[in-house]
């Protein structure tokens, strides 16, 4: 029989629990400072997962419409960007990352394009390309990770603690309740 094969398990589990606790308590101060300096957004909008592709679709719609010379559809797409919530949410995220230059550049391009499309100006295609480039720059900026160390450590700590606690307590409960297989 192998009844005593893992006698040191509970001690190891306690060590892991203790280590996690120490790490969490000591890390708190450092993490808070780091978070304050890194410009971490208060609440990252996870709907950006949907909003950015929608904005991209709008931009592609503008370029396609202008290629076909359809200024009405292009104008509708511009209105969509301006009035829809997608751009405003992306803007908020960029603001929290201190990317004011990118926002103003995109806004300027958008309003210039709007005017050119309204007057059915031929150079609106070039402006749409500029707008598209501005958008790519924004995408690149958003692709830079901003790490909330506090949250990261908290999650690792909570999940780690729960697992370690489970590994510690489950065999004890089994023994206590005298569960035999």
């Amino acid at each position: 029989m192998i009844v005593s094969r893992y006698t040191s398990t509970n001690t190891n589990t306690c060590n892991v629990l203790f280590l996690l606790l120490i790490l969490f308590i000591n890390g708190q101060g450092l993490i808070q400072d780091a978070a304050a300096n890194n410009g971490i957004p208060e609440k990252w909008d996870r709907l950006l997962i949907e909003e950015i592709p929608l904005l991209k679709e709008n931009l592609e719609g503008i370029i396609n419409a202008l290629d076909e010379g359809n200024h009405t559809i292009a104008s509708e797409q511009i209105d969509d960007i301006k009035s829809g919530g997608d751009w405003s949410n992306v803007r908020k995220e960029l603001e929290s990352r201190n990317e004011a230059d990118l926002i103003s550049s995109f806004n300027n391009s958008l309003s210039r394009l709007d005017k050119l499309v309204a007057t059915k100006n031929i150079s609106s295609i070039d402006e749409a390309q500029i707008l598209s480039k501005d958008f790519k720059k924004m995408e690149q900026a958003l692709a830079q990770p901003v790490i909330d160390f506090q949250r990261l450590l908290l999650i690792v700590f909570i999940i780690g603690t729960l697992i370690a606690f489970g590994l510690y307590i489950i065999p004890k409960v089994r023994k206590k309740l005298d569960i035999k297989f």
Binding site: M1, I49, E50, I52, Q150, F181
Partner: protein
Amino acid sequence: MTTKSSKIITPERNERRDLFNYSLIRRFYRSKHYPLSLQLFFVILLVIFIYDGFIGPDSADANLITLSLSGIFWYPMIFGGLFFLGRSWCAVCPVGAIAGAANRFNLGFKFPRQLSNWGPPLLAFIGVLWGFREFGINVLREPLITAVWISGVIAVAILVSILFKGRVFCRFMCPITTPLAVMSRVAPVEVRTKTMATYSNMSNKQRQYASSNTIKKLPLMPEMSKADNIGNMTSVGKIDPTCKSCKTHDCFNGNEETEGCPWGEHPATMTNNSACSMCMKCVHSCPPTEPMRLRLRMPFSELWQVFRPNIYEALTIFVLIGIFNTFLWHETIDLFFPGFKQNLLDGTQPLFPFLSEDQVEKGIIRYVMSIGMVLGIYTLASLVSSKLSGQKLKSNFINFSYSYLAAFFIYGIIDSTFGQIANNGGLYLTAALHHLGIYLYMSPNLIDLSSLEWYSRKWIIEAIVAALVGGYVAYRISQNITGNNTKKIMLAAAPHILMILFLVLIFTTIVPRWS
């Protein structure tokens, strides 16, 4: 079927292929924390996902429960896992873990034998998991519905586990148990005893004689009828001597430390992966002489070494092939029979007055057609094969189905898993990292497949590999069931090889263009 490979694989070669020779793997799988730590991790994740499903965003691409269950869960975890590690997912599945915990307090009822097969879970897969989607209720893509559905599954799992002895839910009720059971056979690893069990090709009389001095003392499997149990035991030609002399069979019965095999398999007689989740309970409870091994083997090789092939497994294979391209036959039928689609709809709709036109078209006609057509053409191939080789139709139908699985796995599963990760990997990573506190936006396309020139021609490689592997498996199956008569081998295999080629060409050429 008899196993021929066992004759050429020497014990020394077998020992070299034992992954427990590698200390990292050995320490991981033999650790007492496996699979409990992973089960706990996935239970925690499931709780978070369900919570998000109820109170999180409505968007399927942003909610954790839909993101995980419709994307990450299926492709990298299930299909990727199946290819490399068989049905290892079942060892760490959170629903299984909850059911297992509830099962400790079971009331001891016996699950009815009539339902102890893969028919009910296959129906659950066809009806609940996939059929609902065709009726416009996608249980994996609408956060609230997904959360309610998963909570319901957990509630049923707990109830069943409290009522009945053994892991009844995982074995006979989980909607994905049959697809996992069938597809786990392709994996290149297996948990077996040092001397692998092989099934002899003795006659019934010889088996009866041999049973008196072979392994009749091994415990019977409670879910099988006595006749099946005896059949199973007496047809084992070779088992490990340690298991033969073992008095306790802890691997099967369990002991005070470790549960017995949750799937009711005895490692000494186990010859396939379909009911092995690699939970390693048998490894943990086995005495220090350690006859248990985790062996590498040739991928797909189990498909031509199936002892007691199962009709439910055969049906599952064609259900999988059918539903993988639900739209194919329905959408293309008008090309061959103009107006047929509309006539079919007009004729069918009055039979289901309580359903909308769309539900009848997609949920009834298209769905039934997708499975029915594949089953129909396979039956035709089996009929021709059985007539040519003089076999029984049922035996031919069941045995050769595994060769289609090999082809399907290559052109369907591997391709879609790669496509899914390449196209949506960024989405999954963005969402997962966001919840960990790493905020960034990644484009959903991890790899821009449209920019890869070779990718547009991948169907050629896919078609060739799928047809070759499927054809080879069909040939080996034919060799096993027809004996050494070359003419018979070829006559039995040819219709299936041609049909595999036909299906592979349809699925790799027409389907991607049509969709």
